[in-house]
């Protein structure tokens, strides 16, 4: 138990993945501390989303080891990692679009409680699960739209549902893949304040493009370039780092 407390929430050692000659992750040593507010940034094609896919098990690593709270999870499948509290959201909404908002979250809560495979009782009989899902919607200010199909909601609201589904799994480690992607910057404050309110029991890794959002949320930043970690440190240090400037300015010039 003591070991579990001191071990990082998530750790990768020598994590690598290549598709033929293309290397999307090479030898990544990464630590996400307990209760962290950590951002993973980098230019387009740096391998940020690939990193998420490797950690969650959607992609199989070519090499290296992944630890969750000190336990080796490299060999585990995606579902088993979720059961251990490793949860992600998606850069582009990955929701059950024609199902109502409440059902989107209910499906997640039901899986967490291990009743998703029950085929004999109507799902409506699981009152406690529906209650919990609705409670989540209330905290996120989505309750008034609970019975609307997700695809009837504005995109910004859908981004909130995206996170609500993840929270229904009671994550210990939450990987937010560009949580504010696709919504006007004026509306992103709703998302930011919601993320700020998340329990400090959850270790957060925010994969982001938007520097403004990163500097408002993160206490630690890792910069990924071409599948490698370029530099790591607190926001001030990263903002001042000339190599990071080069990467971002270089990219801007190429546009």
């Amino acid at each position: 138990m003591a070991g579990e407390m001191t071990a990082p929430a998530l750790e990768t050692r020598g994590l690598s993945k290549s598709f033929g000659a293309l290397s999307v992750a090479s030898n990544i040593d990464f630590r996400l501390e307990q209760g962290a507010r950590h951002a993973l940034i980098g230019p387009n094609g740096a391998g940020k989303t690939s990193f998420v896919n490797l950690v969650t098990g959607a992609l199989r690593a070519s090499g290296g080891t992944i630890y969750l709270n000190g336990a080796d999870i490299t060999a585990l499948g995606q579902a088993a990692r979720v059961k251990r509290g490793l949860v992600r959201t998606f850069q582009i909404n990955a929701l059950f679009r024609r199902l109502c908002v409440l059902e989107n979250v209910t499906l997640a809560v039901a899986e967490r409680n291990g009743v998703g495979g029950d085929l004999l009782r109507p799902s409506g009989r699981y009152r406690a699960i529906i209650d919990e899902a609705y409670g989540l919607l209330e905290t996120l200010g989505l309750a008034d739209q609970a019975l609307l199909p997700v695809n009837a909601l504005a995109y910004g609201r859908q981004r909130l549902v995206e996170i609500a589904v993840a929270l229904g799994l009671q994550p210990k480690v939450l990987l937010l893949d560009e949580p504010a992607a696709g919504i006007p910057s004026g509306e992103s404050s709703v998302i930011i304040s919601m993320i700020k309110r998340l329990s400090s029991d959850i270790a957060l890794l925010i994969i982001e493009h938007d520097m403004d959002l990163v500097f408002r949320l993160a206490r630690q930043i890792t910069v990924l370039v071409q599948g490698r970690i370029l530099v790591e440190g607190p926001p001030e240090a990263i903002a001042a780092d000339p190599r990071v400037r080069d990467v971002y300015l270089g990219e801007r010039e190429r546009r």
Binding site: F90, L99, G116, G117, L119, G124, R127, A146
Partner: protein, 328 residues
């Protein structure tokens, strides 16, 4: 206080979706009425009822689980030959024949699903076709037992419960098919509203997300594929027993394809699409083939084109647009 009321109302509405609605009694009342109104059409009626069960089983995999298939006749035919071979070889007890058909067809569904459900989309579509074609050719080659091209005859089906004889007017066949369809529908309805059924719908809507919330998607797809195969097998056995004949067409691509057409006409993924699409299709088939023996398939095709262009979501889709259909 208002928030608490809204909360209770929303949760209640959501939690009650599985309750029976008055509208759901309509198909059963119509089926019972048809027994009295069209006594001359009971043999056709029995076939329609059994085919509804077949299309309903296809709806479970296609409409709810999103597994596209062009080979569902594999299970229908397996069930038909199972019941047929039993009855032709000295065991004509119908109910145990249905159970045997469900088990064997379910087994074929499980074993083939184990292999082919690893793929999706077009590859999966082709593999379902391969499974059905393989069984078709196997039944064709095994002419010694199946009668091959000539079909399996010589079936002797015993009375139901040892009492109700299959009569030439189709009264027993109709009642028997109706009762079995009712039980099959109850099972399908139960599954669709269960957390298992909802999670299949979730996987249909977004497979990646279903994986990401920790659901064993492949395992659940295999389970529903097996159940659906078993139900399709029961449907095949019903038609075999009520017509005392099994032909190679029970395994044919035409039967698989027709099931899809009937489902699309009625409405996919709505549980009741089969109840509308099958009677429409089979009655149209019956009428058209009498009115125009040469070109009747053309009129059927025209009907299909009209549905696809003007009535997306099938006939039920039209109703849904006219007024909010409950229980989606």
């Amino acid at each position: 206080m208002a928030a608490a009321d809204a909360r209770a109302a929303a949760i209640d509405a959501f939690a009650r979706r599985h309750r029976f609605r008055a509208l759901e009694a309509v198909p059963w009342l119509l089926a019972l009425a048809a027994y009295g109104v069209f006594p001359g059409y009971l043999p056709l009626g029995a076939q329609i009822l059994a085919t509804i069960l077949f299309v309903l089983s296809a709806d479970l995999v296609l409409g709810y689980a999103g597994i596209v298939t062009l080979g569902h006749a594999a299970f229908f035919g397996t069930g038909a030959y199972t019941a047929g071979l039993l009855a032709a070889n000295g065991w004509g007890e119908p109910l145990s024949g249905l159970v045997a058909a469900a088990l064997i067809a379910g087994l074929v569904g499980f074993l083939s699903g184990l292999i082919i459900l690893r793929t999706t989309g077009l590859a999966l579509l082709m593999q379902t076709l391969v499974v059905a074609t393989t069984l078709y050719e196997a039944a064709n080659k095994a002419g010694r037992w199946t009668g091959g091209d000539d079909g399996l005859s010589g079936m002797v089906v015993w009375p139901i419960f040892g009492v109700f004889r299959f009569d030439m007017f189709g009264r027993a066949a109709y009642t028997y098919s109706l009762a079995v369809l009712f039980l099959g529908w109850l099972l399908a309805r139960q599954i669709v509203h269960s957390p298992f059924g909802r999670s299949l719908t979730g996987a249909r809507e977004n497979t990646a997300r279903m994986h990401a919330i920790g659901a064993p998607v492949a395992q659940r797809r295999l389970i529903i594929y097996t159940i659906s195969a078993g139900l399709a097998g029961v449907s095949g056995a019903l038609i075999a027993q009520t017509t005392s004949f099994v032909g190679l067409t029970s395994l044919s691509l035409e039967r698989s394809g027709n099931a899809l057409i009937m489902l699309i006409i009625g409405g996919v993924g709505r549980l009741y699409g089969a109840f509308i699409g099958v009677p429409l299709f089979m009655i149209a088939q019956d009428r058209f083939s009498k009115a125009d023996p040469v070109y009747w398939y053309f009129w059927l095709g025209l009907l299909m084109v009209a549905v696809v262009i003007f009535a997306r979501g099938g006939v039920l889709g039209i109703f849904e647009r006219l007024w909010k259909w409950p229980g989606k």
